[in-house]
Amino acid sequence: MNQLLTATTASNLYWFGRYIERMEAILIELSDLFDRIVDVDANAGSLFYARLGVTLEYKDARDFINVALFGDHHANMMRLAYNARENAIISRNYIDAEAFGTIIELYRLLEHESKNMYTVDFDFVDAIMTRISALWGSLNHRLKRRNSDYFIRIGKLVEKVDFNLRQGCDNEFVGVILEEIDTMAALLVEDYVRAKTSGVERDTLIAEVNAKIDRIIAP
């Protein structure tokens, strides 16, 4: 019998994948933005976050890192890690133990650092990145994939699509990811019909991706 999963657990795994991917995607950008704020454009951080729907104000590059990680907005690293951790706790039986432990540690690290009276520097961003890489590694070490692995992976890919669309990347890249999502969906759902994406508009594409997820996880 295929691995059993309830809709809630499948959804938790999917969102776990999405939040981890979102953390990683933002952290990768932070490195580049940090340099650009220092060398090229002091406003580069604000422009990036505006595309995520966040108004971000900061004094300098170091302050930018602090506000990005711990500021009062929905894309701060603490909140993303908290959400990833909550989804992991609920679905912990279906997540590799080491990966589960890593997200617990990661949140604890962020929580501890958020109370630190000194502002963080870029080394701290690297420390989080290292843990996220380790986390993906733990999730991928099994040779045989189970349904739960696919839900995490789909979450990761959907987040990639979403993030890239919001940042205005080309649709060809998005198309490749959508192909991969369809391949996994076909493994999870009998008689899964691959629906072609019609939209070129960002919002239309996002809606079509969400519709795919609704077809995989029955309400």
Partner: protein
Amino acid sequence: MLEPTTALTQRFWDIFSKQNRSKIDRFESYMDKFAVNFNLYKDGAFIERSLPFDVIPRIIEAREFAKIERGLSQRIWALNAFLEDLYTDQKIIKEGIIPEAFIHQAKGFLRDFVGFSPAKKIRTHINGIDLVKDTVSGEWKILEDNLRVPSGASYPLSIRDTYRKIYPDFFEQLSIRPISNYPSYLRGAMEYVNTGGINVVLTPGRFNSAYYEHSYLAQELGAELVRGHELIVENKVLYYKNYNGAKIRVGAVYRRLDDEFIDPLHFNAESLIGVPGIIEAYLAGNVALLNAVGNGVADDKGIYYFVPQMIQYYLGEEPILSNAPTYLPYFETDKKYIFDNIHKLVIKDVAEAGGYGVLFGHTMTKLQLEDIKSLIAAQPRRFIAQELIEFYDERCYINGEISPRKADFRAYVVMGESPKVWNCGLTRYAMEEGNYLVNSSQGGGFKDTWVIEETK
């Protein structure tokens, strides 16, 4: 008071003295990293915390444990027979062993279920029996029976592997009984009564104190972890709802929620964590519930008083393990004794658990003692009184020093075809020196329990 050192415990201390104590921190790291939690609610706030762990195990020599094993098996046979009798023929009432009114006043007695017999007539599948070792007699005494939803087995189970990795010397040099068979005991108990279908562990959810345990045990015994809304009853059959809409029949439910919340159609209509209709499926014999519905009557501290009589009545044997000396104000002679000696007794509310509703006479003022006497006089069925047992302290490693703490021992007995006593248990210790309340919900910590053969 600490238990005298024996040749075996001395061997433990010899090995302990050669260990690198700085590695003790690794236990805490392990528990933090893997969220080995027992959460608390304090002043309405949810506090997520790992269960405090003490590195010094409780050691029970195999010869001593053999008596505990025999005594607990005997007790569970008798309690199962009592519950089956109570909900069917009620011979124990008819023959006057337990007063009828006393049973009917028990909060956990569910009259609606009289006449129903569960699969294989097993009701006491998973049991946690609390014991202490009396300093006067040197004997283990039973403090209470937990036959509803006893928690705690997962904590020593999860810490043991870590212990072996951090300090392998103990396991190489002492003959410590392995404990990894607990999940197979549980699986066996579920399979024995399964009515056809998958096994599931039903949890109230992520904000329950013992959610870690629910998920851990589900994983270890190979069952699906579910919340109430993830199950559905159709035509008196219980199903698991898979993510793709498929419905899979459920044959046995290890439920981790009390009777009151398990089915809003039958019990508390406001329960959001139960499964509507599950009782109908249960009464139709289409699913097994572990533990059986209605076991709360046997957890009643007033009923505990009668367990020695149950052993004699159902098994025709003398109890191998005795209760703590207990008095029921329900009986006039006992009430008089309680009133004359209340200053040195422990008063317990029969329906409470987790260390709540426990009063120590020696810590109360005259006025408080008079108040409690009035309460007992008005509601004699609500209370029991027990002699304060001076039980042995356990050595704990706290802040770099070894110091004594009161500790009890929760033993686990899993019943499939017959009761199996686990070679371990949850040793719970009080955080403050001299405190008698060791319950996890009162902030107490835990130790591993090693049953050790005398020779290796």
